[in-house]
């Protein structure tokens, strides 16, 4: 069976007057119905831009330079905007990072939720309103019926993000892209929002792409995780394996730089040294090489492609992958593993 979504060699560039920024440099992945995929990476590595490119809503300066985004075997990048609009919100929907600014301040939440319903499903006003109440109820907004006429500023951040989710799932999309959905929220609210997302994905057999910089978020939510660096995927594995046996030095670095409550008191956090490369010039060799203690001569001259390592579902783009003895301690992994299973 062909996957629901298949992204092939997608590349995005931003042209500014002075330079060209290579934001995404050829990423590929498949997504099946009901699957949850995490895309993890630091700020500016191209996570959000990839998502915007898939939906054809890149900012003006951005341009897809190559690649395909096959949704149910149709290349979204080749569709005219009018047809793409039918897919946006209807088949593929997106949730954004900042719930404080992602809702129109002068329209009631009811009006904003019904907008997609009325457009895509051609519902009558009263029917759409009923549906909006049901949706708000579903994402856990108490007294949904009374809140439908409220304005965004009358909701708290967590509640607004729930409203955003309600908007995004209103037409029962097959794919939900969540771009840092919990970054702007308190930790307790984060957990609630992730719970809502997980539940929806399970109930609707929706595929979820969760974009985040927070390893803790993917750990409990995603079946598979892709690690992104400088516009490329550097490692892709089932989340459980990725945390247990990270093979790319960058993934290992990310795991080591997460503060842990169970760490020994004197143990220091190990940040990744250096800063990401400027993405304005063509990168020769592995983009992570300048910050990598594992880098070899090959890393600096030849760009590594994703290839299988250990097993069929574990891919890594590295000339000198992390060896067993450098991997994180087992007891930490066990704690993580539980989270993945739950």
């Amino acid at each position: 069976m062909a996957p629901l979504l298949s992204v092939r060699d997608l590349a995005v560039q931003f042209k500014t007057r002075k330079s060209t920024i290579r934001a995404v440099n050829g990423i590929s992945f498949d997504l099946n119905a009901g699957e949850t995929l995490g895309i993890v990476g630091e700020s500016g590595c191209g996570k959000s831009v990839s998502a915007l490119a898939m939906l054809g809503i890149l900012p003006k300066a951005g341009r897809v330079t190559r690649g395909e985004v096959l949704f149910e075997d149709v290349d979204l990048l080749k569709l005219p905007d009018s047809q793409l609009r039918q897919i946006r919100g209807n088949d593929v929907a997106m949730i954004f990072q900042d719930p404080m600014t992602s809702l129109n301040p002068i329209l009631t939440v009811g009006r904003q939720i019904t907008e997609a319903l009325r457009k895509h499903l051609d519902m009558s006003k009263s029917k759409a309103n009923e549906e909006a109440v049901a949706l708000l109820d579903r994402v856990g907004i108490p007294a949904a019926k009374d809140r439908i006429g409220d304005y965004p500023h009358q909701f708290s951040g967590g509640m607004r993000q729930r409203v955003m989710i309600a908007m995004a799932i209103s037409c029962r999309p097959k794919i939900l892209i969540a771009d840092e959905p919990t970054t702007a929220l308190d930790v307790t609210i984060q957990a609630q929002i992730l719970e809502v997302l997980k539940q929806l994905v399970a109930e609707e057999n929706m595929a979820l792409i969760l974009i985040t910089h927070d390893l803790g978020v993917v750990a409990g939510t995603c079946g598979r995780t892709n690690v992104m660096y400088a516009g490329r995927f550097v490692e892709s594995a089932p989340t459980r394996k990725l945390f247990a046996k990270p093979r790319h030095p960058y993934t290992l670095g990310l795991l080591k730089s997460v503060p842990r409550l169970d760490a020994a008191r004197k143990e220091k956090l190990q940040p990744i040294g250096g800063t990401p490369l400027s993405m304005t010039s063509e990168i020769e060799g592995c983009a992570f090489a300048p910050r990598c203690i594992y880098a070899t001569e090959e890393s600096r001259t030849k760009t590594p492609e994703l290839r299988r390592i250990d097993s069929d579902d574990h891919l890594v783009a590295c000339w000198n992958p992390v060896q067993e003895q450098d991997m994180p301690r087992i007891e930490i992994v066990a704690a993580r593993d539980e989270g993945v299973a739950g």
């Binding site: 915007l52 946006r88 954004f96 600014t101 329209l107 457009k119």
Partner: protein
């Protein structure tokens, strides 16, 4: 009552029912703005009921015609008589009609054209924007009064022509403001979110972008109305006012009597004060609106 219940109640108290009402609430609690509202309301009432308030007609000669030494204020003529023996109070009262009309018409004119031009350039961008905005820049480069003078000499000296001329000078202000506002809104997160839901372009503009971009325009309109009144008065003072003789335009009254300022101060003070008060009222309202609508001031 438990603490949680008390908190819930407090939250409810703090929740006004709509954004507009929220802004209105803040506006109502702004003392300066309320003073402005009272002043302008009074002015509007005076304008509407001018025939009932003014004891005499605007051109009616009720006293001695003495151009060198007009009669000062008295219990019979509160603001005295002018050089042609007309009652100044009646003329100032009728003048309110003219000034409000001038402010309203020229701002409406400037706002409508500025709105269309600003929306076009903000939405389409590209060469449409370049042509429109550079034209606006050229207009802004010429001092407003100078531009108005030029336009009046081009259009003629009737009251209508003057209102149009002043209106034209305000077009670039509105066009630039709306364009900037649209550009800012277009990049906002909620517009991106709406696009991700498949909302088409025209609907994005009409339902999402424009209504959000309008607030600064409303504020500006109030402030520009004040400038328009001053500008028309200024044009009159320079001798480019309405050609109709005997028209009780405040600026024209100032101009006619500027030479008598040492002998008959009342002829200059009263119309001058009328201009100052109405402009002040509008400015107070404008500032109050700005403070209550501006999202940054929102609590």
């Amino acid at each position: 009552m438990s603490i949680a219940e008390a908190e819930v109640q407090e939250l409810k108290l703090e929740q006004p029912s709509s954004l507009g009402r929220d802004a209105l609430d803040r506006f109502r609690h702004n003392k300066a703005a309320m003073v402005g509202v009272v002043v302008i309301l009074l002015l509007v009432l005076i304008a509407i009921f001018a025939p009932l308030i003014a004891p005499y007609g605007t051109g009616e000669q009720v006293g001695v015609l003495d151009s060198s030494n007009p009669e000062g204020p008295s219990s019979e003529h509160w603001m005295g008589l002018d050089e042609q023996g007309r009652d100044v109070f009646s003329r100032v009262v009728y003048g309110a009609r003219l000034s409000l009309l001038v402010g309203l018409v020229s701002v409406t004119f400037g706002l409508s054209f500025g709105f269309v031009l600003g929306a076009l350039s903000g939405y389409f961008g590209g060469w449409v924007e370049t042509i429109i905005m550079r034209t606006m820049d050229i207009m802004l480069a010429i001092p407003t009064l100078l531009l108005a003078i030029g336009l009046v000499s081009l259009l003629g000296r009737g009251l209508t022509q003057i209102m149009i001329a002043v209106g034209i000078t305000t077009i670039p202000i509105f066009a630039r403001l709306l364009r900037g506002s649209i550009l800012a809104q277009r990049e906002s997160d909620y517009v991106l979110a709406a696009r991700s839901l498949g909302v088409p372009g025209r609907r994005l503009l009409m339902v999402h972008i424009l209504p959000n971009a309008l607030a600064p325009l409303i504020v500006q309109a109030t402030l520009v109305m004040a400038t328009a009144i001053i500008e028309v008065a200024g044009l009159s003072f320079l001798g480019l006012g309405p050609a109709e003789p005997g028209l009780p335009e405040w600026g024209k009254m100032l101009a006619d009597n500027a030479s008598r300022i040492d002998r008959a101060t009342h002829l200059v003070i009263f119309p001058g004060a009328a201009i100052v008060i109405s402009v002040l009222g509008l400015n107070l309202i404008g500032d109050g609106l700005r403070e209550s609508i501006d999202p940054k001031m929102r609590s």
